[in-house]
């Protein structure tokens, strides 16, 4: 396929052919001379690269897409009264299910923790090895890569696609173009279609979607995501990274001279120029100026211009360059993951080395460990019984006919188990205090709370005047699970006259 592509490339425009290596006529889209007030998008025709990074990218694509499409269909048995979907964001029920974890709305701090971990994780990886996220796992990159693969399968590689675009409309061109867009639309539809399964029981929703009985919002979501996937993966592509995404701007502050980035070894490559195979060209560096690094670049840039905003560090230029180096019999690694500091070191005649234990790396790793431990601790000690007690403030207290003082409380018991539970409520701290719960069927020693729900009780505590030696006394409520004996305490106060 590659050889054929080379031939096609050559037929697209007669390029200067050197022995063994094809010089591509690819040009960087952000070339200085081309800049004007408004920048027209120059369509990029990335050529297929072959090598270890391309293989890695295929594997990452398979993994990320696999996780995205398969996850909603995984089942997880939670017993009765609960959904059996492993990962489910249940908006109407106000729950988030993630395998053995179940999160209530008041526990969004787990989400905060996850976001902190994600952000710091991104910082850590970026300061270690540049925009790994952008180059390998970002959905924009993965889907664009997939769309380009579709394009390549239907229309051929770079040269064939350029030729097809230049050729006048014909049945062949129309069929190929239509097939490409149809495949893109199907992928886009699948993307939007998979998204909604995270928010409802997947098999049920799939059935509803097929019989047009699903809620309108499901179709709307699928429609929107189909459109954005089609637009961003098929047309906007590198424009998203260059103009819409804030990450390329942020990364500048996260990189330092010891971060691994895609590096063109200028000292080795320059001055660039073509030479005969196997001969050491006099006065020339190792770069044979074949432009293959530009031809494979999905961002359409020339890595030899140095680090630039547009580079998503997908490493495809490394693959392209390495195979050319193999062909011309020069050592690999003219373009490779390296640090700016190493470039300086080599220039100064020192040995290149990696400094991983830099202060920012240690700080990021430290934050990740600390936040991770806190989250693990809270998750491990998470109680499935929550109690919240609110004391009446109006009236502060009520004098009863026998002179005793009464306070009112609203007791909320949250039962996070999937079975109904019965609790006993006790109050400690005041001698002779009596508990009374509003409602004819309810008593303080049998408070029933349904499965996976919150129950609110009005509770009155009355204490004899003689037992009150202050206008504010500590009162401790105990909520006890009558079956297991599990106990939760809640400290409140009891107010009385001065």
């Amino acid at each position: 396929m590659v050889d054929q592509a080379v031939v096609q490339d050559a037929t697209a425009k007669p390029a200067v052919r050197r022995e063994g290596v094809e010089r591509s006529d690819a040009e960087p889209v952000n070339k200085k001379e081309l800049r004007s007030l408004y920048q027209k998008r120059v369509k990029i025709y990335p050529r297929l690269a072959r090598g270890s990074f391309r293989r890695l990218k295929w594997i990452v694509m398979a993994l990320t897409l696999g996780v995205y499409y398969v996850t909603p269909w995984l089942r997880w048995d939670r017993g009765l009264n609960a959904p059996d979907q492993a990962v489910l964001i249940d908006f109407p029920g106000r729950r988030f299910y993630f395998f053995f974890i179940e999160i209530w709305p008041q526990e969004v701090y787990y989400l905060t923790g996850l976001l902190i971990l994600a952000a710091i994780g991104l910082f850590l990886v970026t300061s270690l090895a540049g925009r790994v996220w952008c180059g390998y796992t970002c959905p924009q990159t993965v889907w664009t890569d997939l769309f380009i693969a579709v394009e390549r399968i239907v229309q051929g590689d770079r040269a064939a696609r350029i030729r097809l675009d230049k050729m006048p409309w014909s049945a062949n061109k129309a069929v190929r173009k239509a097939a490409t867009h149809l495949a893109w639309l199907l992928i886009a539809l699948g993307t939007g279609g998979a998204w909604v399964f995270y928010f409802a029981d997947a098999p049920t929703l799939a059935g509803q979607l097929a019989t047009f009985e699903a809620p309108a919002v499901a179709y709307l979501t699928i429609g929107t995501l189909t459109f954005t996937t089609y637009l961003l993966g098929g047309f906007a592509r590198e424009q998203v990274c260059t103009y819409m995404c804030p990450w390329p701007r942020i990364q500048g502050g996260l990189l330092d001279e010891e971060s691994l980035v895609i590096t063109y070894h200028e000292d080795r490559g320059e001055p660039r120029g073509a030479r005969k195979k196997g001969t050491a060209a006099a006065g020339l560096g190792d770069c044979v100026d074949c432009n293959q690094c530009v031809a494979v670049c999905p961002m359409g840039i020339d890595i030899r211009d140095g680090q630039q905003l547009e580079c998503i560090t997908c490493a495809l230029c490394i693959d392209a360059c390495d195979s050319v180096m193999d062909k011309v019999g020069l050592p690999r690694g003219l373009i490779s993951y390296d640090t700016l500091a190493n470039v300086e070191r080599v220039r100064a005649g020192e040995k290149p080395r990696l400094r991983l234990a830099r202060p920012r790396i240690l700080v990021y790793a430290g934050i990740i460990v600390v936040v991770g431990l806190i989250m693990l601790f809270t998750l491990a000690t998470r109680s499935d019984l929550d109690v919240s007690i609110l004391r009446d403030r109006n009236p502060l207290f009520v004098t009863l006919s026998d002179g005793s003082i009464r306070n009112g409380y609203t007791v909320k018991i949250i039962n996070k188990q999937h079975a109904p539970r019965v609790f006993a409520l006790e109050a400690e701290g005041i001698d002779g205090a009596r508990l009374d719960v509003v409602g004819n069927e309810v008593t303080a020693d049998s408070l029933q709370v349904g499965p996976d729900s919150l129950e609110s009780f009005r509770v009155f505590v009355a204490a004899p005047r003689a037992a009150l030696d202050d206008d504010s006394l500590d009162l401790r409520f105990q909520v006890v699970d009558k079956r297991t004996g599990e106990k939760v305490s809640y400290d409140s106060v009891f107010r009385g006259p001065q």
Binding site: Q39, N394, S401, R406
Partner: protein, 289 residues
């Protein structure tokens, strides 16, 4: 644009020519599709003026061809809420007060509905927390002048106390001083006796003299033991709760000039289901019998 283009050496981008402390602004070219997006937004805005309410006029505004109105939307959601309440209101209408109090769902609904009706109609006198004040009964406690079970509360809300309704609860305590039924010394003695009934500080000798007067003048309503009668609306004088204050001056003032608080009748003003919810709410405040 071709004149005096200064190009930044590092980025190769033309500068705007503006300079602040040696920092120059790059004139980075905008992607053309961005420009088209901007034009599309302008079109969107223009279409919005046509479709949605947008421009203020002198006495009204343009309504837009879609006829959208946030007030109409509010009215719609209010209707939806009312429809959702409808099923509960129907059940409350057909249920007895006891049935409402026994049904957890209806009780919760009545407590919420009664609470908001109370805040609108009753809190002016009884207070937002229903704790009342001097002359206005505290509805949280367990002392009831006219009875504190569901029926009695419901009747009080329906017809009021000393109201203009024919079925109102009504009684009248004589003004013993103003009408010269008792002289000052007798009133003072009775006051001492009344205070002694609830174990408040009192003069034992005066209280003993007052007891005779009490039996003669007061026990018809307040009963011989001073515990009053809910049928007659005569307050219990032996407990710790005083509607008009429990110090001697307040008691003397009550005996001398009488008291006659007034509560309006709510039947006709509030519908039956609201009164039911109010009764259940007041009953559930903690003192219901």
């Amino acid at each position: 644009m071709a004149h005096n283009k200064e190009v930044d050496q590092v980025s190769g981008t033309e500068t705007t020519g503006h300079e602040w402390d040696g920092i120059k602004e790059l004139n980075t070219p905008l992607p053309r599709w961005w420009l088209w997006t901007f034009y599309a937004c302008c079109l969107w805005a223009a279409a919005y003026w046509v479709v949605m309410p947008a421009w203020p006029l002198i006495s009204s505004h343009t309504t837009g061809v879609l006829g959208y109105s946030s007030r109409a939307q509010l009215a719609k959601s209010m209707d939806t809420a009312r429809a959702a309440q409808g099923q509960y209101l129907e059940r409350i209408q057909s249920a007895s007060l006891e049935q409402i109090a026994d049904d957890r769902q209806l009780l919760d609904f009545a407590m919420a509905g009664g609470g908001s009706a109370f805040a609108v109609n009753c809190s002016q006198c009884h207070g937002l927390g229903a704790a009342g004040s001097t002359g206005f009964p505290n509805l949280n406690d367990d002392d009831w002048i006219w009875g504190g079970d569901l029926e009695a509360i419901s009747q009080t809300i329906h017809y009021g106390i000393r109201s203009e309704h024919a079925d109102t609860r009504f009684n009248m305590m004589p003004a013993f001083g103003t009408d010269q039924i008792l002289d000052r010394a007798q009133i003072d003695d009775v006051a001492e006796y009344v205070l002694s009934l609830s174990s408040s500080a009192s003069d034992p000798a005066a209280a003993e003299r007052g007891q005779a007067v009490f039996v003669e003048q007061c026990s018809a309503c307040h009963m011989e033991d001073g515990k009053g009668s809910q049928e007659l609306g005569a307050p219990n004088l032996t407990d710790a709760i005083w509607l008009y204050g429990g110090d001697k001056a307040a008691v003397v003032a009550t005996i001398t000039s009488s008291r006659s608080g007034m509560m309006p009748a709510w039947t006709g003003r509030l519908d039956e289901t609201t009164i039911k919810q109010l009764a259940v709410y007041v009953h559930s405040l903690g003192g219901g019998q």
